[in-house]
């Protein structure tokens, strides 16, 4: 974490604790997950105990407290996506990656995760990887998609 960035984030709020989520995002972007060291450092910075920081970090689905894949594949399994075949998409992904949803591939390339409505139901069933949305995804599209993600 660059001190300048931290200062800039802190300056946005009248109370420093508000910087916790932005700083957790920052830590995760840098290390791939929220490390125990980061939890300690953030606590010191914001006047919180490590337990308080961890309690917040675990509340939110996007923060990882353990290392995971280099990229996370989010598959929506909420209603509109399920109506159009999300479960088949999940099954095909699990089969091709050789892991269950929630797990990371042995080569560390991907973590596969089920997600709730990704607010992109117009292209259901939807997969999101970082900033990119893919959909409507059919099971037969999965091989090409994984290929693209591996190379991209």
């Amino acid at each position: 974490m660059k001190e300048e960035t931290v200062q800039q984030i802190l300056s946005r709020y009248a109370h420093r604790r508000s910087a916790l989520l932005p700083l957790l995002h920052l830590c995760q972007e840098e290390a791939g997950y929220v490390t125990p060291e980061a939890i300690g450092q953030l606590g010191e910075r914001l006047g919180l105990s490590p337990t308080q920081v961890a309690e917040v970090a675990t509340f939110y689905d996007m923060f990882r407290l353990k290392p995971g894949g280099r990229r996370e594949i989010w598959v929506c399994h909420n209603l509109s996506c399920s109506l159009l075949g999300a479960e088949e998409v999940v099954r095909r992904l699990e089969e091709r990656l050789g892991v269950k949803a929630g797990e990371t591939t042995p080569d560390g390339a991907f973590t596969l995760r089920r997600f709730e409505c990704l607010a992109a139901c117009e292209i259901a069933p939807v997969i999101q990887v970082g900033p990119d949305y893919y959909g409507p995804v059919r099971p037969e599209d999965i091989d090409a998609l994984l290929e693209r993600l591996r190379n991209g």
Partner: protein, 427 residues
């Protein structure tokens, strides 16, 4: 054809929502107009007269909400834009943020001026990774052009806008959970009262408004309250963006007068049912609202008409299901969602959502028992009306409605010990 207002610029070919494009198409003209012609007080009155109601779910009149903010100039006030968009079936705010971010910023500036706010936050859903980049850029560009910062357009009005990213928790869309989250805490809803307008962010007066609500403001300032209130019905004025998904030919966002009939929305704008199958069920306002059926197709989509039909306008997320859909499975998915998202503070909600999910999963898997239908009704009954926030109701009411309209289907699962649609659920 009704006129598009909020999504008008989406139709310009190649429009990417940069500040140059926004300015070249009449953007940011409401700011000088408001600063010159309106006092904060009269701007609140304008919005009140327009009849604008919140598009985030509850439909509260925006001008009235603003009027609750204390006028004491020594008090710090906050505006928080609710861009958490996480109600299943809703995807309009994402479009408004990524395709025309300056329209939202202009709305935020106007609302801030009206309530006397000097620092505003956009609480953006964490999963909107692309949206965050676009919004950050838009904030910088607006500041570089003098629409944000000190002494905006020489008026003496100062405003800073900051983007604050959430991190994946549906409950943070609820306004008091959102404020907790913005304070760096877990998103646990607060007991109301006090309402945010008197004690919100850092216990200071705060207005929380949805993205789409705010996007309406520049148009109301430029075209007047009478123009706005002439669209829609007397109590549900203006246009609304309906997010239509599920078994329709053309899923997507459709901006239409609030009182568009459901039939027109689904069969004309969204292209009707895929493969010409029969329509079975419609969730008209996001997964938190009761389901409607074919018999309700002539219902209009405004707040009053949907309430009269036994549902709610909610977030404008319209999920359409054809006759291949298993309603027990649909219920299982909806219940799973609320079970996952309940913050756990209230026993009825924490236990109720878990029981609903478990019972529906059992029925769907062909292991339902005769008593399970009564059990479901009991659970729902116990979940309603006694909790800190409305999530518990939002989980119970849809399930009750599925039982009401599709009770036979639930029974069939139990009697035949299998899902007649062959899905079986399970996840």
């Amino acid at each position: 054809m009704s006129e598009k207002v909020l999504t008008k610029r989406f139709e310009i070919s190649g429009y990417r929502g940069t500040i140059e494009e926004y300015l070249a198409t009449g953007g940011y003209q409401a700011i000088p107009r408001a600063l010159k012609e309106y006092s904060p007080e009269s701007l609140i009155d304008l919005v009140r007269r327009s009849g604008l109601r919140g598009r985030g779910g509850a439909g509260f009149p925006t001008g009235v909400k603003w009027g609750f903010v204390p006028k004491d100039p020594t008090l710090t006030k906050y505006l928080v834009c609710n861009a958490d968009e996480s109600e299943p079936g809703t995807f309009k705010d994402r479009d408004l943020i990524t395709r025309d971010p300056h329209q939202l910023l202009e709305g935020i500036i106007l609302a801030s001026y009206a309530i006397g706010c000097r620092t505003a936050y956009i609480y953006l859903r964490g999963e909107f990774v692309a949206g965050a980049v676009i919004m950050e850029q838009a904030i910088q560009d607006a500041a570089a052009h003098g629409f944000l910062g000190n002494n905006i357009l020489g008026s003496g009005f100062n405003l800073k806008v900051h983007l604050h990213r959430g991190a994946g928790a549906y409950i943070c869309g609820e306004e008091t959970a959102l404020l907790e989250s913005l304070e760096g805490k877990r998103g646990l809803p607060r007991l109301k009262p006090p309402f945010p307008a008197s004690a919100g962010l850092y216990r200071l007066p705060t207005v929380v408004n949805n993205v789409e609500t705010l996007c309406n403001l520049p148009h109301i300032v430029l075209r007047g309250a009478e123009w706005f209130s002439s669209i829609g019905s007397p109590k549900s004025t203006g246009n609304r963006i309906f997010s239509v998904s599920g078994h329709v030919r053309r899923p997507g966002n459709y901006e239409l007068p609030m009182d568009v009939p459901m039939r027109e929305l689904i069969f004309q704008h969204a292209g009707g049912m895929r493969g010409d199958r029969r329509l079975k069920a419609v969730i008209p306002g996001g997964s938190s609202v009761p389901v409607l059926t074919e018999q309700h197709l002539d219902t209009r989509m405004d707040f009053e008409s949907l309430a009269k039909a036994g549902s709610m306008a909610g977030s404008g997320g319209v999920m359409v299901m054809d006759d291949s859909t298993c309603m027990v499975r649909a219920g299982e998915i909806v219940a799973r969602f609320y079970h996952h998202e309940s913050c756990g503070q209230c026993t009825q909600c924490r236990e109720g959502t878990a029981w609903l999910h478990k019972t529906l999963r059992r029925i769907e898997a062909g292991r339902g028992r005769k008593v399970d239908m009564d059990l479901l009704m009991d659970i729902c009954d116990n979940m309603k009306g006694k909790t800190i926030c409305p999530l518990s109701d939002a989980a119970a009411m849809p399930i009750e409605s599925y039982l009401k309209y599709f009770g036979d289907e639930f029974e069939q699962h139990i009697v035949e010990r299998a899902c007649p649609f062959g899905s079986g659920g399970g996840s």
